[in-house]
Each structure stands twice: as C-alpha cells, then as structure tokens.
C-alpha cells in the first residue's frame, strides 16, 4: 500500500483543465519528484493533494480516502506543504513562524524541542530567530518555510519548487537539507522545475506535460531518457 495515492486526479480553473486526470503514488520513505515545464500543472496537483483546491478523482492517504478534505484536516493527519513562493509570515519573527508551524500541536515542551531541532538543522535561522521573516534573504526564507512545515511533524512533506529564485549555492544547501529530511524518514513529494537536481535526489519521478503525466519511472532511468534529456536537461 502506498502512503499517497492519487487516481484520475482532475482540477479545473473555471473552464480550463489544469490537471486532466493523472495517477501517481508515493510509497512510505520515498522521495518522488514531479517535474515539468511552466504551466504543466505541477503546483495545481500538489495543491489538490493537500486539500487547497477542489478536485475530481481520488486521493488516498495511508489507504484512507481523503478527497475533498480541507487542508487543515490533512495537516493533522501528517501532510505538510511548503508552498510555492515560500509563503512565510513576513511580519512575524523567525521563531513565531516556526511556532505557527506547530499550530496543530498542543505540547509546549515538544514545540520548544522541535524549534531547537530546526535551529540545529538550519543554523542560519538560529542567528536570526528574532528577526522579521520578511527581511530574510530568499534562501533563508525557503529554509524557514521548510522548517515551519516540519514543525507539524509530518509524515508526508509536499515541497513546491524549493529552488525557485535562489542562487545556485543556496539551492545546493536547500537540497542538502531536503536530502537529510528524507534520510530522517519523512516521505517527500517534490515539485521542481530544475529537473536535474530533482532527479538527482529523488528515487522516482513523474514528468508532467500540459496537465498529464507523460513519463514516469526511476529517477536514474529518467535521467537517461532521451526525451527528458532533450526537453528538461537542455541537452
């Protein structure tokens, strides 16, 4: 049984079909990449899975049908989203942002421990714990967004374009952390435009094109696939 299973997932904005019935699954412990060009429907897929958008088809989480459940309920079940463009609370401090991530948790001592764990994972955030999140650099904000999502102690982490708009060095750092989170046992579904990077760190991958999954398989084999190389790796 897969941890996450989406079948015939469909999303439309008004009359436009952004996602036209896709099937994908993520097994426990895996890191799965969802790659594709701009407007292929990757973010929409992710938002539908975590309950932020109305959708057709089914989404199953640990065998349970969670289609149509609102996002806040899925957080309690262990699904956390790192939204596209980070979405940190700009006027709140770094620490307040992290606390907000633990909204579903009531154990104050546990929250304190988790914050320390995040500061250990992202030492840059510790230096800036009292600073307003909006004044952080893009990379630091991304770290904060990931840390905040981890504060809810998710079993499935949905990452939306963590490399977007970041300097190459920062991207590398972010992906090191993503790798580490995955090694710690968190299942990850990663949406990325940077196909090489995504396929390098993930176990499996799906390629989306105008609302449909056109290719899927082991990340290594996708990296070798001539179509993928031509369309997404620029070779």
């Amino acid at each position: 049984m897969s941890m996450l299973e989406a079948s015939k997932l469909k999303v439309s904005y008004g009359g436009i079909n952004a996602v036209k019935g896709i099937d994908l699954h993520v097994d426990a412990g895996e890191m799965v990449a969802l790659i594709g060009a701009n407007g292929a429907g990757k973010t929409t897929t992710l938002k539908a899975i975590c309950g932020l958008l109305h959708h057709g088809g089914r989404v199953r989480y640990n065998g349970e049908d969670v289609s149509g459940r609102p996002a806040y309920q899925l957080v309690e079940l262990g699904i956390a989203l790192v939204p596209e463009g980070r979405g940190v609370f700009g006027r709140l401090s770094v620490e307040e942002n992290l606390k907000m991530g633990a909204y579903v948790c009531n154990d104050k001592a546990l929250i304190r421990d988790e914050i320390e764990r995040m500061f250990h994972l992202f030492s840059r955030l510790k230096e800036r714990r009292g600073q307003a999140a909006g004044t952080l650099s893009g990379g630091e904000q991304q770290m904060l967004a990931i840390g905040r999502a981890l504060m809810s102690q998710p079993r499935l982490l949905l990452l939306d374009e963590p490399s977007m708009g970041l300097a190459p060095l920062m991207v590398e750092k972010i992906f090191e952390v993503v790798q580490q989170v995955s090694d710690d046992g968190v299942t990850i579904l990663l949406v990325e435009q940077n196909a090489r990077l995504a396929l390098d760190v993930s176990n499996r991958g799906y390629v989306m094109e105008s609302g449909l999954v056109t290719l899927s398989g082991d990340s290594a084999s996708l990296l070798d696939n001539s179509q993928v190389r031509q369309a997404y790796l620029g070779e």
């Binding site: 940190v88 006027r91 909006g134």
Partner: protein, 363 residues
C-alpha cells in the same frame, strides 16, 4: 539613552515592590478620577469620560476583527446597535419587559455574537475592499431596519427610538441615582464610571490573553497569509467566524451599556460615521495593539469635547466673535489630526511590535 532605559527597567524588575506601588497608585488614581474631574471641570466631563470608556470597549472589539484578524469591517456599529436595542427591548416599557442586567448582559452578548456570525458567514471568501463594502452595507441594513420596524408591528418605535430604558440596578440600587456610601456621595455618572471602567479592564484582559493564545496566533496567520495559514492546519473558516463573533460580542456589550446609561436609543446613534469613528480610533491608536487602541479611543472620544468647549470662547477672545462654528471646526481639525498622524506615525500612535516591523528599514 536606550541603555539607560533598559537598566532602569531591570531595576524596576528587581524591585517588585515598586511595581506594586505603581499599580496601587494607578488604581487609586482611576478610582479618584471622577471626583477630581467633577470638582475641577464639572460633572459633564465625568459623563464624557464614561462615553470614552464605552468607545474604548467598542474599539477593542473592532480591533479583534480589524487588528488581529485583518478583516476590514466598516459596519461595526451595527453590533453596537444590536446590543443597544437588545437591552432597550428587554428592559423598557416598550414591551413591558424589565429583565435584570445580569440576564440581559449575556443575552445581549449572545444575540450580537449570532449577528457577528450572520455577517461573517456570507463574507468568508471576501477580502480587503470587497469585505469592507459588504460590511458597510450590513451596517446600514441594520440601521434602516431599526428605523422602519415600527410597522406593520411596532418593535423598535422607528425613528422615534425607545425611551425610559432601565438602568443597571444592583440589589435594588438604581445606578443612575445618587447614593451615599461611607458618607460619600456617588452620583449615577460616577457609579457608571466604575461599572464601565471594570468592564473595560475585563475587555483589555481578555484581549491581551487572546492575542497570546492559539486563536490569536491563528488570527495573525490569517491576516498575514491565508493559504499558508490553511496549510499550517488552521481552520480558516471557523477562526474567521470566531473573530467576527468575538468582536461583535464586545460591541454588543458596549451597546447595551450605552442604552442603559443614556436611557434612550434611536437609530441615529448608529450611522456610518460612527463606524468610521471607531475605525479611526483603532487605526490612529495602533491597529492590533491593545494599549494603542485604548489610547486612540480615549483621545478621539475626549479631544473633540475639549475642542467643543474651548473653540468658541477662544475665538471670542481673539476676534471678539465666533468666526467658525465649533461643530464644523471639529471635523476640520479631526481630519487634519488624522492626516498628520498617518504622515508622522503611519503605524499609529502606539503600534504593536508586529505592525512596526512592516515599516522598519531592513538592514
């Protein structure tokens, strides 16, 4: 300078006794205030302070909706009206009902909370300007209803309003009359001052506790980024409705006290300008900051009265006659004050640390 201030703070912290002495002094000051005011500038001013306290309560309620949750409500006075009329209908000769205040207070709070949810529910998907327009409409609808509910069945007496509303009475003690305690004479205005002061303190306490609670954090998250708030596990629908309901409740309680204090209500007390006035108190004082909002409310409620009483004599002394009617001068200066504050202190007179960050330079 700052260092000096901090060292003084730490001295204060070490010396707990000094803090307690401070509290006692403030308490004594607040307790004596009506007598001092009464004996120096007259009883009218005690009455003005009473109204200022009612406004403080209103502003604190609106601050929950606008300041904490970031939902711009331009029809807030409607809840004040609902609270006032609930009290008026349950404790006046209008229906011959004379319920005791400890019963009307929770009933009024409940009714206005319900109205808060009724307004909140259809506007959940609206934000910013759109929400403002809809709430503005809601405020007017309530007022027009009150104005026209004198036929076919007479409920509100229409534009004439409801008269002879029961005052708060404790154990047969009518709070609008003058009483003697310990050989000291307390007028009704004085007694209401203490009731209102107590309720404002309670409201402040609740607001401060709310701000630092899970609900308070959820409100702030919604204000900052609704999608992110949802993906933190916040049920944005319920939390928004709660903001409307809580804000409305405070407004309703303030309205009830207004009705009983004044003994009379009519629809013209609840016009759009009143909504704007309360919003100004919140914005001018410092949106989202409890202390700031209280200061804003007290200032905006008292200063126009000061102006009203000084503008004419001052003009007569300077020019020998009244050139500008104090009433029109009031709005002129009020507008000027608003513009000045927004230019010099865009986050309000006493902003919350969170709001302040928005305008701070990044370095």
């Amino acid at each position: 300078m700052t260092g000096h201030f901090i060292s003084r703070l730490s001295i204060l912290k070490r010396d707990r006794r000094a803090v307690w002495v401070g509290y006692v002094l403030v308490a004594v000051g607040l307790a004596l205030l009506p007598f001092v005011v009464d004996n120096t500038v007259g009883r009218t001013w005690v009455r003005i302070i009473d109204f200022a306290l009612i406004y403080a309560m209103l502003a604190l309620g609106l601050n929950i909706v606008v300041g904490f949750a970031g939902l711009l409500d331009l029809g807030y006075i409607a809840f004040y009206a609902v609270g006032a009329y609930t009290w008026a209908l349950l404790a006046s000769p209008q229906f011959g009902l004379h319920l005791p205040f400890w019963l009307i207070l929770p009933i009024g709070a409940g009714v206005t909370a319900l109205f808060g949810v009724m307004l909140g529910a259809p506007t959940l998907r609206l934000r910013g300007d759109y929400l403002a327009i809809v709430t503005l409409g809601f405020g007017e609808i309530i007022r027009i209803f009150l104005n026209n509910l004198d036929h076919p069945i007479n409920i509100t007496n229409g534009p004439i309003g409801i008269n002879r509303i029961d005052p708060i009475s404790v154990g047969g003690l009518d709070l609008t009359r003058t009483h003697q305690f310990f050989g000291i004479e307390f007028s009704g205005t004085h007694l209401y001052y203490y009731v209102l002061l107590g309720l404002v303190m309670l409201t402040i306490f609740i607001c401060v506790r709310l701000e630092d609670s899970r609900i308070g954090r959820a409100w702030i998250a919604i204000r900052e980024d609704e999608v992110a708030a949802q993906s933190m596990g916040i049920n944005t629908r319920n939390v928004k409705l709660l903001a409307f309901a809580m804000g409305a409740t405070f407004g309703g309680v303030a309205g009830g006290l207004f009705a009983s204090f004044q003994g009379f209500v009519s629809p013209e007390s609840f016009v759009l300008l009143e909504s704007i006035m309360v919003l100004c108190m919140v914005v001018l004082g410092g949106m989202g900051h409890v202390s700031g909002v209280v200061v804003g409310a007290l200032l905006l409620a008292v200063l126009p009265e000061v102006l009203r009483s000084t503008a004419s004599p001052m003009q007569e002394q300077l020019f020998g006659k009244v050139i500008v009617d104090p009433e029109s001068l009031r709005m002129l200066l009020f507008g000027l004050a608003l513009i000045l504050v927004m230019l010099i202190r865009p986050t309000g007179l006493w902003p919350s640390p969170i709001r302040k960050r928005e305008f701070e330079r990044t370095d």
